[in-house]
């Protein structure tokens, strides 16, 4: 009986904590910027089982005019024994395709700045808990201040609308990891130059010298 009471209190507290932890979400969208963004032109590749990694990566690469399909990415990022894809391999596969993998700073507003600049963002979410952590890659393609929601290309859903609070919670639980696949030389919205130069150095380290040069040149002109 006592345990049940304690469990009920714990559940109640957590539920309330979930309510209060958000507060007004206006500031997550940033002070300035459009009230609504939807990158409708972003391609959509419905994922097959366990293949959200290839599908999500193909989406952001194709949005940047790289000719690729999820099937082509499976042998580059899918790990059969883990039945999924690792973040570092998504970064590596982006490099192998001649794009600059820019991992964003782990802050909420950064996501929406990139969307406002017209770039879809590849995100990692933790949708589950415990023995089923529910790691999932999706592509952020829009947001709506008034509806307090975000839009994702996720799984087999072309246009998934999710409350911004729930999305940011799943993103935070996943470590706030998000990535852009930039054209080498193209700078992100809130370009943090040390991050950008690190990414350019990564291209150089794996032998993509032409792309690295273009990236370094852009960085130096800033």
């Amino acid at each position: 009986m006592k345990f049940a009471a304690q469990a009920a209190c714990a559940i109640g507290w957590l539920w309330l904590a979930g309510c209060t932890a958000s507060g007004p979400r206006q500031e997550a969208f940033g002070e300035t910027g459009p009230g609504q963004v939807e990158l409708e032109a972003t391609p959509f590749f419905p994922q097959s089982e366990y293949q959200c990694g290839p599908a999500a990566l193909a989406t952001v690469l194709a949005a940047g005019a790289v000719d690729v399909t999820p099937d082509e990415l499976v042998p580059e990022v899918y790990l059969p024994a883990r039945r999924g894809s690792l973040q570092v391999e998504l970064v590596a596969a982006t490099r192998a395709r001649g794009r600059l993998p820019y991992v964003l700073a782990p802050r909420d507003d950064v996501l929406f700045d990139e969307l406002a600049a017209g770039r879809p963002v590849l995100v990692l979410q933790k949708l589950g808990a415990g023995p089923w952590p529910g790691w999932h890659y999706a592509v952020l393609v829009g947001y709506d201040r008034e509806r307090q929601s975000v839009l994702l290309r996720s799984g087999t859903t072309r246009r998934l609308e999710m409350s911004v609070r729930r999305f940011l919670w799943s993103w935070q639980r996943g470590g706030r990891w998000a990535m852009l696949a930039l054209e080498p030389g193209e700078l992100p919205a809130g370009a943090e130059m040390d991050r950008y130069v690190d990414a350019a150095a990564g291209l150089e380290a794996v032998g993509r010298l032409d792309e690295a040069t273009r990236a370094y040149r852009s960085a130096s002109l800033r």
Binding site: E76, R83, G84, L86, V88, A129, H136, A205, V206
Partner: protein
């Protein structure tokens, strides 16, 4: 007699105190060759560690079902730092798979247990 004992005791006390002398830092000028060699050593260690990590990741990817023809190109697309952080951690890192729809009380209970730290034991759950 008592005076003698006290005398010996105080001599011994002073002796023990003197045994613990303060540490003296040694500083001096080292030759250029020594400085350069120590830098080489650091660089050599990094090279060796990276080579080890590269081999380790290559083996682990193969063991996890990656096709032998693909392993080399996947490893070649990663930087040394990435390989070093990956080696040995492939089992534990997040592997994005599916859009999970875990709902309801089960999810909430799991979440509480995870927050409290009880669910660390499930790390190796298949």
């Amino acid at each position: 007699m008592i005076f003698f004992r006290r005398f010996i005791a105080s001599i011994l006390c002073m002796t023990v105190l003197n045994l613990s002398s303060p540490l003296v830092a040694q500083a001096g000028v080292i030759g250029t060759l020594q400085a350069v060699e120590s830098q080489h050593r650091t660089a050599d260690l990094a090279t060796v560690n990276s080579a080890l990590a590269r081999d380790q990741v290559r083996a682990q990817l193969g063991a996890m079902g990656v096709d032998a023809t693909q392993v080399d190109s996947r490893v070649a697309a990663m930087t040394d730092a990435e390989l070093r952080s990956l080696a040995g951690e492939i089992e534990n890192l997040p592997a994005g798979a599916d859009a999970l729809a875990v709902i309801g009380i089960v999810f909430l209970v799991l979440l509480i247990l995870e927050a409290v730290g009880v669910l660390d034991i499930f790390k190796s759950f298949p």
